[in-house]
């Protein structure tokens, strides 16, 4: 085996190793690395659906396209305490097994703060919604295309005219 081929094979092998965990996953684990949370792929899928219902795709990308549910998980994992995380997961249970119109209906209930809803459903939804919104507004897509954030404005105008009416 010549040296070049050997190196190439090593590289291919390394690439395969990097891919392996996701290839082997069945019910498996979530697709991002989490320190504290134990989230199944099914739960991940559900969170993805919920995020999409909060911020859907229109003529511009929605939560699914921007993977906002992964941002929610990242923030939940790193920025909340155990109690808040547990409450989030407990609240999530109320949505498990639901899909389509049923899921949407349950979310609308949570969003309207319908009386009688379990406290953890409210806790779950508060985090889910606020972090989905935060992830959306701070996403590369939105900051580059819809609500532009400038790294180097180079100007300040304190009397910038606004069209009224």
């Amino acid at each position: 085996m010549n040296r070049r081929l050997a190196i190439k094979q090593v590289l291919i092998f390394a690439g395969a190793m990097a891919l392996l965990p996701s290839c082997l996953r069945e019910e498996g684990k979530v697709s991002i690395q989490l320190q504290h949370l134990d989230i199944s792929a099914t739960q991940e899928k559900l969170l993805e659906e919920i995020a999409e219902l909060i911020i859907p795709k229109t003529n511009t990308p929605g939560a699914k396209d921007l993977k906002l549910h992964l941002f929610v998980l990242k923030m939940l994992d790193d920025c909340y305490d155990k109690k808040e995380q547990e409450s989030f997961l407990k609240g999530l249970q109320a949505f498990e097994g639901l899909a389509g119109a049923e899921l949407k209906e349950k979310l609308i209930e949570a969003n309207s703060g319908k009386p009688g809803l379990a406290k953890e459903v409210g806790d779950f939804y508060a985090i889910m919604k606020s972090r989905t919104i935060g992830g959306y507004l701070n996403s590369k897509y939105v900051m580059s295309n819809l609500v532009i954030w400038e790294l180097v404005p180079g100007r300040y105008n304190g009397y910038f005219p606004v069209k009224t009416a």
Binding site: I54, K74, C79, N138, K140, L151, V152, Y156, G158
Partner: protein, 565 residues
Amino acid sequence: MSKKQHTYDAIVIGSGISGGWAAKEFTEKGLKTLVLERGRDVKHLIDYPTTNKYPYEFEHRGELTLAIRKENPVVSKCYAFREDAMHFFVKDKEHPYVQEKPFDWIRGYQVGGKSLLWARQTQRWSDFDFEGPLRDDFAVDWPIRHKDLDSWYSYVEQFAGISGNKDGLAELPDGDFLPAFPLNAVEDYFKKTLKEKYTGRHVISSRCAHLSQPRQVHFDQGRGKCQNRNLCQRGCPFGGYFSSNASTLPWAAKTGNLTLKPFSVVESVIYDEKLGKASGVRVVDTNTKEVTEYFAKVIFVNAAAINTNLILLNSTSSRFPNGLGNDSGVLGKYVAFHNYSARISAEYEGLKEFTTDGRNPSDGGYIPRFRNLLKQETDFKRGYAAGFSAYRSPERDTSGMGTDLKSQLLNKHLGPWQVGSHMMGETIPKKSNYVKLDKDQKDQWGIPLLRISVDYDDNDAKMKKDYLEQMTEMFTEAGFKNIKPNDGGQAPGLDIHEMGGARMGHDPKTSVLNKWNQLHDCKNVFVTDGACMTSTSTQNPSLTYMALTARAVDYAVQQMKKGEL
């Protein structure tokens, strides 16, 4: 290494805003100068890892993780300690201290110190400030007045680059300014309202250390025009704001007279009993813990107010058993700060034909002190300055979900103007507000821990009440609605304007430093950082430290030439 190899003309302890100035002045005057910095090196441009990142490039979009907040209950309270700049702050565990009373000690241990992180507000002091203690009978009389600093203020303003207007106010002397960043429509409106309805209350464009229009001296420093990024705490790739890193230190290095040693914490200043003056400093390498002594004819202590107190208190000898230059016994006492514990917000429905575009690095408006200015008029001493700024953002109703929510998040329809102000109150230096060395506990470098005992008093409470009342009244006069006073409070320290402990004064019996920032009792040691402050007044203090430093170096070098030091 021999003593000779460790000998310099001047030693400067600390590389922050005042240490950087001392380094520049000494090296320009031809003195071989050693600058000792306890933290790591931070090179301009090279060591600003986050400076060009977009918000979405931060793992947590700027937010602190729970683990970081839990490990750092003190520094996490600082507004600038966020994902983009947390590498420039001292973490709580790195250098512990004892809080006899709650005190949030915010520190930046690196080359450049807190000059990388400061809020860049640069208002001069007037004689209403310097004459405060004498007129209102507290602390001791300042041994200087504005006339002593006037030319030095101009000197540092020209080099650092200060943007501002010549406002013609006796209480806030004009300086040598670059063009001001303008007030916006509502800031201007509030300015006009105060002018019409009050006597002696003004809103001016905040004067700030940003290059609105650089001059040759700034280009010579390798700095360029401020680009209105308002990401200053990350370090500026344009050198748009003044820091030791962008300005004084590279300038000093160019002379060939600068030796900069990072990772070098000063344990004490060495006093030579035979010579009757200081001979050098004892330094601990923060990594290896190795102790080295460095020698010089003159020593400037610019370790930042509280650490300067620590060094002097820890510099004991048979001549000075209670700390270097502490014959008076006041060293470490009369520590004061700025009362930033109240703010107020409101809305304004008018002027909807305008908004702002781009960003204003000056932070908007500044209201110089008006309370008790010409004469005593309240039941508390002194007064407060205040920030004032206004902005608009899109009106977003986030109560819905789905397409409705999404269109709300993207709508560009602007809500009413939001206005806000925060107080910057003068606090009265008191003997009971002090720092001292812990008798038993030491830090990882073998230096005693500090005990900090600093608190608000009744005067601060009355002043805060007055600030909120007066601002509420002024906001009401301006037709602002939904006025929300907030005295949520914060511990002293979080203002990051701690001052005093080694105050200047005429009398060696009641002060530590003379009018040249020189220890009364050990003439070749100078203190020109916040520790020297006799009183605090209301202005952000850094500009005054810069001017005091340049003046003190000039004096020290003259004295050296005369053979007096």
